[in-house]
Amino acid sequence: MRAAALKIGATALTVATTMLSALYVTSHLKNPAAPLQPTVLRSSSGSTVAGPGGTLTLGPSVQPSDVQPVTSTYAS
């Protein structure tokens, strides 16, 4: 008698937990329209300049400047 009561109680607890979990999940659906956090910045795709001597491509992380260079990369 006591064993049967324990089985019935355990079954009822399992069913209740399952139902509550399902209710919780369905009421907390992920919103696909939610904004990304932190905000993702739009990145530049870089630039390519073709000249008579060749083609120069600068990726988005390399910034050109008007400053006189202190030194250069070159063939040696």
């Binding site: 870089g46 300049v49 001597g53 060749g54 083609t55 120069l56 491509t57 600068l58 990726g59 992380s61 390399v62 910034q63 050109p64 400047s65 008007d66 400053v67 006189q68 260079p69 202190v70 030194t71 250069s72 990369t73 070159y74 063939a75 040696s76």
Partner: protein
């Protein structure tokens, strides 16, 4: 940002080329120490002197020998460069270098070329092994560290010069910190100035170190001087060794594939046919 400390510069001839060191807020004697370190490393890593550590290593092919931490690091970088380049950057091209007569520094002239001895380079991992302070070359193999050594040395030199410095070893350069004005180091790349912070640059070319129809840039697939349709490639990348590796690989890949390769691995690149 206004300049808050003086910019020190030092120029000297070493490694068969012109070298320049720059640093913000560093005493000039520290730059002189950089020159001395460059000369010491050059003497240890040159293949033109029979007494250098590299020459001793090449002469000991077939057996395990102790190597310095610096040479071991360079050999490991060479193996990494081989992988990054799909085998196109292969320091085991010494037999072909010898065959084309490039056996002494350019200032000392060249010996007679024996072109029949040019041959494709072996796969580097098949002929070079390293482990804990020792390394081994297969018999018949030979190593020429070339630009890999200059790129690696530029990175080490820049690190030793403090947080805001540039080391330029004949075009293989490493720039660390925010530069003299706080916006990055202004560096020339194919006639354009770019601002670099903690980045490196290198140029691979067949326009220099050439004589007649021959030049120093060996295509390991053939063992002969490369002819790919590209004569010069400059690259910006995360480290000196990477920049050197990517530039040489792009040049060897030729004008059709190089743009795709550079887009995958480089931060900026100049391709000149």
């Amino acid at each position: 940002m206004p300049r808050s400390a003086p910019l020190a510069a030092h120029h000297f001839e070493a490694l068969g080329t012109t070298c320049s060191l720059f640093a913000v807020g560093l005493a000039p004697d520290r730059l002189l120490e950089g020159e001395l370190w460059t000369r010491r490393m050059g003497e240890r890593l040159t293949r033109f002197s029979p007494d250098s550590e590299l020459s001793h290593f090449n002469a000991s092919a077939g057996r395990w020998v102790e190597v310095s931490p610096e040479l071991e690091a360079l050999l490991r970088e060479s193996l990494h460069a081989y992988e990054l380049s799909g085998g196109l950057v292969n320091v085991a091209v010494l037999p072909s270098m010898t065959a084309i007569g490039y056996t002494t520094s350019l200032s000392a002239g060249r010996s007679v070329a024996t072109l029949a001895e040019m041959r494709p380079a072996p796969a580097l991992p098949d002929v070079l092994e390293t482990k804990g302070g020792a390394a081994r070359l297969e018999p018949g193999a030979g190593i020429d560290l070339g630009g890999i050594a200059k790129g690696w040395m530029a990175d080490r030199l820049r690190e030793s010069l403090g947080p805001n410095a540039v080391a330029n070893l004949g075009g293989d350069l490493s720039a660390g910190g925010v530069g003299p004005d706080g916006a990055g180091w202004p560096i020339g790349l194919a006639g354009v100035t770019v601002l670099l912070r903690d980045r490196s640059a290198a140029t691979s070319s067949v326009r220099r170190r050439r004589w007649g129809e021959l030049h120093h840039l060996i295509d390991p697939r053939t063992g002969a001087p490369a002819r790919t349709g590209l004569d010069e490639v400059s690259v910006i990348a995360a480290s000196g060794v990477e920049a050197e590796t990517i530039a040489k690989t792009a040049l060897l890949l030729g004008p059709e594939v190089a743009p795709v390769y550079c887009a995958a691995f480089a931060l900026a690149w100049w391709l000149s046919p």
